[in-house]
Subunit: 418 residues, 2 copies
Amino acid sequence: MSELEYVKNLAIAAKRASKEIAAADTRTKNTALRNIAQEIRHQENEILGANKQDVTLAKEKNLEPALIDRLTLTSSTVHAMADGLDQLAELPDPIGEVSVLSERPSGIKVGRMRVPVGVIGIIYESRPNVTADAAGLCLKSGNAVILRGGSEAIHSNKAIGECVSRGLVETGLSKEIVQVIETTDRAAVGALITLNDYVDIIVPRGGKGLIERITKEATIPMIKHLDGVCHVFVDKDADLDKAIKIADNAKTQRYGTCNTMETLLVHRSVADAFLPKICAIYQEKGVELRGDDTVCALVKNTSRATEKDWYEEYLGPILSIRVVDSVEAAMDHIATYGSQHTESIVTENETTAQKFLREVDSSSVMVNASTRFADGFEYGLGAEIGISTDKLHARGPVGLEGLTTLKWVVYGNGEIRQ
Amino acid sequence: MSELEYVKNLAIAAKRASKEIAAADTRTKNTALRNIAQEIRHQENEILGANKQDVTLAKEKNLEPALIDRLTLTSSTVHAMADGLDQLAELPDPIGEVSVLSERPSGIKVGRMRVPVGVIGIIYESRPNVTADAAGLCLKSGNAVILRGGSEAIHSNKAIGECVSRGLVETGLSKEIVQVIETTDRAAVGALITLNDYVDIIVPRGGKGLIERITKEATIPMIKHLDGVCHVFVDKDADLDKAIKIADNAKTQRYGTCNTMETLLVHRSVADAFLPKICAIYQEKGVELRGDDTVCALVKNTSRATEKDWYEEYLGPILSIRVVDSVEAAMDHIATYGSQHTESIVTENETTAQKFLREVDSSSVMVNASTRFADGFEYGLGAEIGISTDKLHARGPVGLEGLTTLKWVVYGNGEIRQ
């Protein structure tokens, strides 16, 4: 059987199963989530054993340490996966609600009903816990899902997929509601992203290379998760104590996340007062600094940033810094080099804050807060499939609602169009 | 200059102009709409003259009469275009509203702000009035737009585009907010749909062939307008008087629209009572009937429908009819052959109605109403760019809101992530 046939068969089964899960009631879906969580706890040894295989192979292939780190599961991460599913069971069910009906002059009553999207294809990289998280989010939102994780995590993903299948079947649901692609052939991805007749959305999560390839080849709508080149702008009217806290936290609280600040923009009139202080903190924490001429003159041990630096998502302890003459110049920099993910202004000036909020075209725009808050849990969504850098449908952190859609419902009493 | 360079230059200018129109206040946008309407009224003769050129060329090329009909403008359609723009000026501005802010445990306040999408590319066929309608909708929703109409309407579109430019400039806005592609080369479409750095959405409107080609080639998200294979299902518990009115109206009120019924499904237990009556009406109106064996046995002058008929969007006075044994069989038929556009059930049984509403996966699902109501004006949107057959972002009739998106806004007071 070719990769295309294999994936097509999964997709046909998923489409059939999608009707079943779309019609399932809240109690059934929550029971399934809890059953899967229990299966994961019971199969901890099997999952860790499979994961060990993956990690050993990854080490043999000399894959980079950061990847091996993301790949590695422990007893505590396995339990965190199970707990995450139990928490999903506690969230409200997004499906079925009908908006207020409005009566139209013709006599018909028009409303919108929240429904699942149908079949979702998720393409991700090395973290095996995404397998459980994504399965849970899709199930709770009434969707069938086809999961395609990184080839280096294949044994872990199969073991987790087994637990999901068992949990579904125990609940009396079809195991085809959640399917893991069990081949590591790249052609499987190419097949998945063009099966328009069966798959309704593709959610790609991963590096720029992967997402660009998928964007080019896919014929199915996507909710993309691209890079986060996030900015903090310290305005001339900033409270510098807040600015220090925010600029420190946005860069150093975690280096490898997409909502981490990668470029710090500072208004020229506060550069003298602000930069030496914040840069001392960075350098103490081992952050490499790359600045423009003004920054290099003000701060020791700073190298000259190149044009390429302004575009860079370092995902590590490196920061580029630029001094600008105005909020407009800061916004121009963001529009030119940013990735429309998350930007924050530090200012006490309400007019400047409003201008920044209105005009910066990013999925999250903040005033006096750390970019690290751009997150489904911090925003109160309860869970998150990722942070979308697309503008349509779901922008920014995507929770259960992002995996649903609205259809129009019309109640008539024999009305006809005049 | 190549087609790609030409379109890229338009797109770069559109992106620049998109910031200007995104920041424009409601009064300015409404003034622009009214100025454009006035220009169209003043330039009536020029528009009709340009249209005459297009129609003459189309006749010389022996293009089909239906196309020439759609292409032809009259004094009254020109005034209808202008009136449409005045009506858009009366609608509420969708931009700028911020949802209720919720305070999170961290102290940040989180909300969502409605903002324009940015730059929209609209690809359509022969109707020149779309040029004015689409320009108005994009302008009101704060977007810049690039319009690419059918090559047979190029002179009409240029003339209308001239009026739009003048109306914008009179208002003190840049004319690059609305641009008409002035080449008929197909390569221009190929260029437009891959300029991801400048264009945010593509709205294709047109036949299946056009949409399939664009879906394959585009790398930009789309709001598609595909075919409408719409169904009415007359249930065993139908009020047959309502069923007659609805089935008649859904088919014969207008033949060429995407929300016209193409297949009538009838429950076996009411077939005897219902089919001869409704079919007499159809045949009197000159509708050609194609049915299954039961229909052919019950109704004279009915030909046998083939498998292909169930998939067909006739867009004319032809109807396929099938007798089914249950609501489930009707829903199976719809799922197999429908285009997820609009379906209606005629029934007095509340449980059956709810089942149909919940389980039919179409952009509009109706009870006891004509499918012809699936329309932005009838639903109260005030205007319509088209009817989306996509599931993401905008499903069904798309009004101003469908051309906007939500970004997250966060108000903090120096909060950092723990």
